[in-house]
């Protein structure tokens, strides 16, 4: 697969990222090949101010590494520092 291909993914925002992005979710068409690249891209376009180093990422409702490849139709959720309990 050509890494420069565009793919459509659904992005979910929560908590502080939801406030910074100004939305709970959006469908994006992206050339980002990994979750990391997508976060960097959206950080710039949506003005996300939370450092990626402090966040985790989930694809299709499962935690993955930031290097996880993205596929068309994936649901990507960025996970700010959690504070349950």
């Amino acid at each position: 697969m050509n890494a420069a291909e565009e793919r459509e993914v659904l992005v979910l925002y929560f908590a502080l990222l939801r406030e910074q992005a100004g939305r709970t979710r959006e469908t994006v068409v992206t050339r980002a090949a990994t979750a990391r690249e997508l976060y960097d891209e959206l950080s710039a376009s949506r003005g996300l101010a939370l450092g990626r180093a402090y966040c985790r990422v989930a694809v299709n409702d499962e935690f993955v590494s930031w290097d996880a490849p993205l596929r068309a139709g994936d649901t990507v959720a960025f996970i700010p520092p959690v504070a349950g309990g």
Binding site: F14, A15, L16, E62, I79, A83, G84, G85
Partner: protein, 147 residues
Amino acid sequence: MFLLAELPFDTATLATQLRCEHAGAFVSFEGWVRNHNDGRTVVALEYEAYSALALREGRRILDEALARYEIAAARCVHRTGRLVVAEPAVWVGVSAPHRDAAFAACRYIIDEVKLRVPIWKKEFYADGESEWVNCAHCARHDGHALS
């Protein structure tokens, strides 16, 4: 069983559901909304959850507790939405043949839930300000300030 609850939960019912004939011990933990944090007066909290993943990860934690400790059953319920001071936010219950395992498993579960489950807490302070807990010092490295 790990559950998210939009409304207050009934702890007596939760405890009863863990009762079983070979369990001689029951241990529970409740997290309540505290009126202070980091020197600030808290008046309310809001919990937000990534439900699909929170349920998965919460269930994984309970399965881990069942595998690691000699316990009969374990449950955890976590609130979402707005809570006021002194309101219960989370409940963990464990039944086991003996108390050592019940205490240890209960501690394990709440510690892991706090560490891993995608639930976020926004604190509302008496001075009118609010803040997402654990996010205050997490700005991007290029120096952008948090909103």
